[in-house]
Symmetry: C2
Subunit: 458 residues, 2 copies
């Protein structure tokens, strides 16, 4: 069954989905609010760099795009933590050298739009979705001149992000569960340019993090040897964006708490004044779609489940949505009514789980990474994981490098494993030397108390 599919939003998820559906014979039209970024310059959304990991890669591979993306990404095998005392320490992300991949949102989006064009997929820029009429599966788009274009789709897919217009239409229907919640922290981007000789001024093989308890700075490398930094900082209180309105105060503060980063930003004052402060939203809703007399409406990615960026999973979760939906369509003979129902049933618990994991990881990144108790727990976690491969898997690994495990399984398993870690932290001999071979039998016995860890994603 070939369907006419109208995708609202040509961001990362919309583009990937367009490719996957086009390859399955559906007639795809993409509508994008902004102008073509290759002509107009990329104007974001959030231009924050993204960490592509295995869930995202698996989805790109399904679309045949993994090589295209590898060409524009930089592998990061670990975090380089910049302590308050100016010492740095490196922490691997995985036990076996696994890496996440730094990509620029704009660069990746443009690469995907090139592919959309090469496949001849219909795409319309400067089409802002103004209204979706669910009952008749139609949407009105307003162009730059103010003219209204009405388009119909057997299927309308809302890939239009955290402030989705398609979700706005669903929200007006009865019994739509919805919540939006913001962190008390906002973020501001800052850049570290390449050195005068074009070389990188920080190690390019790591995600850099300056954790400072109630706030933090991170930096991810770009292909041109610059780094995109993001300061996650309270809106109100002391210190906060509100308390550092004056650029003199801001610079004095920044130089004091992040001296190593400040030294690499000669244009700090300009950047602080020019770059906006953005907020961090979590959106939960249900249902993600509607079956109408004329077809289907369905939300994917941030439109269905916007999350905070602290697990680096926003894009990965959206790409996984696209992969799962394509798999379900294949399984059910491209029958959208079955696939979209099944999609919502399967994906909603995983979206809720990664939202929780992402909120929890903010605490880990800014508070705990520096904390000796936390570091001990991570060493014990690694030691138990080495003794019990496949049975005791660090939570970061499950979320980031194990796309065969769902987010919900990763969250539940992480909580069960945490109970074991808490118990082990009460063993003085384990605390004294977590990696001693003498503890392996204990580790294996305790890990064996958990049920086998079964892959649950297809």
């Amino acid at each position: 069954m070939m369907s006419k599919v109208l995708i609202v939003g040509s961001g990362l998820v919309g583009c990937l989905l367009a490719v996957l559906l086009h390859k399955r014979g559906h007639a795809v039209t993409l509508c994008e609010r902004r102008a073509d970024p290759r002509r107009a310059g990329y104007v974001g959304g959030r231009s924050i760099n993204l960490a592509l990991s295995d869930r995202g890669l698996l989805a790109l591979r399904m679309a045949g795009l993994a090589d295209d993306v590898a060409a524009v990404s930089i592998p990061l095998p670990g975090r380089l933590v910049h302590g308050a005392n100016q010492q740095t320490s490196f922490f691997n992300y995985g036990l076996n050298g696994e890496a996440i991949h730094s990509v620029s949102r704009g660069g990746l989006n443009i690469r995907l739009l090139d592919i959309i064009d090469s496949l001849g997929i219909d795409i319309r820029y400067e089409h802002r979705c103004h209204e979706v009429r669910l009952a008749v599966n139609e949407a009105d788009f307003v162009d730059a001149s103010g003219a209204v274009h009405t388009l119909h789709g057997d299927v309308i897919l809302g890939c239009d992000g955290a402030y989705s217009a398609v979700r706005g239409a669903l929200q007006k229907t009865d019994r739509f569960e919805y919540s939006q919640s913001y962190l008390p922290h906002g973020y501001k981007e800052l850049a570290i340019e390449a050195g005068p000789d074009g070389s990188a001024r920080l190690d390019r093989n790591a995600l850099h993090i300056w954790p400072r308890q109630s706030y933090m700075l991170i930096a991810l490398p770009n292909l041109d040897n610059s780094f995109t930094c993001t300061l996650f900082f309270p809106f109100e209180g002391e210190p906060s964006f509100a308390s550092l309105q004056a650029v003199d105060d801001a610079e004095a503060f920044f130089a004091r708490v992040f001296p190593s980063a400040h030294a690499l930003m000669p244009d700090f004052r300009e950047q602080w004044n020019n770059n906006p402060v953005s907020s961090l939203i979590t959106v939960r809703c249900e249902p993600w779609g509607a079956t109408t007399a004329n077809g289907q409406v369905l939300l994917l990615g941030d439109a269905a489940h916007a999350i905070v960026p602290f697990f680096g999973q926003g894009m990965n979760a959206g790409f996984e949505d696209a992969r799962v939906l394509a798999s379900l369509l294949d399984e059910h003979g491209q029958d959208w009514s079955v696939a979209s129902k099944e999609f919502q049933r399967m994906r909603k618990p995983h979206a809720d789980a990664i939202a929780t994991l992402a909120l929890d990881n903010f605490v880990e990144m800014r508070d705990l990474v520096q904390d000796p108790t936390f570091q001990l727990k991570k060493r014990i976690e690694a030691a138990v994981a080495r003794a019990c491969p496949g049975q005791f898997v660090p939570s970061y690994t499950m979320v980031t490098f194990r796309p065969d495990l769902s987010y919900a399984t990763a969250l539940a398993r992480a909580r069960a494993q945490d109970v074991i870690l808490q118990q082990l932290m009460g063993h003085p001999s384990v605390v004294a030397d977590p990696t001693s071979a003498a503890h392996e039998a204990l580790y294996r016995t305790m890990a064996a108390s958990l049920p086998p860890l079964q892959p649950d994603m297809r």
Copy 2:
């Protein structure tokens, strides 16, 4: 400081607020989406009967309207429970004969509109709020002909209910916390008319309740000796509105589980077919307002905190909002910027508390009222309360008859008292005879472990 106040919505809260503000010298304009109900007939919102209790009465008294309302209400000193075995039992609401008051939403609204007119307050019907421009304190209203009327207020008050248009404008601002959630139960109204001789066919001095665990029927008396019944029933599952689509099935079911009510509804089939099923929303949001360059925008009542009806507090909480805002204005020399900030700070925790209490009370009404353990606990609660007046106060009493205690205090105190009740249910002699004078010393000792119960509302 006299202000130009634009009130959106002339429902119960909007009308009461208009009277309170008019009497304080503010220039009030009321805009209402619907036509004048005295000319057009009252077409609801929810025409569900309302239970006015002491918080609402205190606010009406402040406005000088308590007598007007007493004339159109019927006092109910307790619940009459209709068991599955056709037996009935009566439970007083208070220990000292306190009563709640059955009023018709439509009748009360019309009484308030008469008063609005008698005071010469400017009111505009068929003015649907289409857009609120926060930055300039203006709102556009669309009339029946489609014409747009733009009105300005130094203060714009959103009293426009659970689906508030004013809240819609606030929701588009950054960092607005918002959630809407629905119960899996809906409701359908049914009527029991007066008998052929004009007499009431049920006892008029009680709120009637037919609790049936997963669902329930209630009935409240009207001035004309009819009763308004409401069936709270699951949307899906077995049994549910979905499973009883056919009126034959519905009638067979209703006659079986509510025979005493069914016998009083000769027109059951017509009513079942004609009356819609409505949903039950809880809305939480923050902030409730905005300070703009040109003044204030503020939400009150359901627009700020829509709750489910199971504690009979929706209207009472909205009236209490109006009373508290008027008090704060008096306290701060009619300075809206101070009063509206203080109002939000004070009221938000109480709105959250009554939302929780209302959801909890649904379980009590449909599941527990019939349960012997629950009935025992209520008997012990009453006995402890008699032994310790002012120190141990039943939760229903705190919420309903003690407007000097905030909802948040009522919720916290109810939870602390519940721990004591749980302990007492482990004493065999208490269980055997809760009202024995022999237990009074024990009751007093246990109640004395709680801090004194201090009034915290002004």
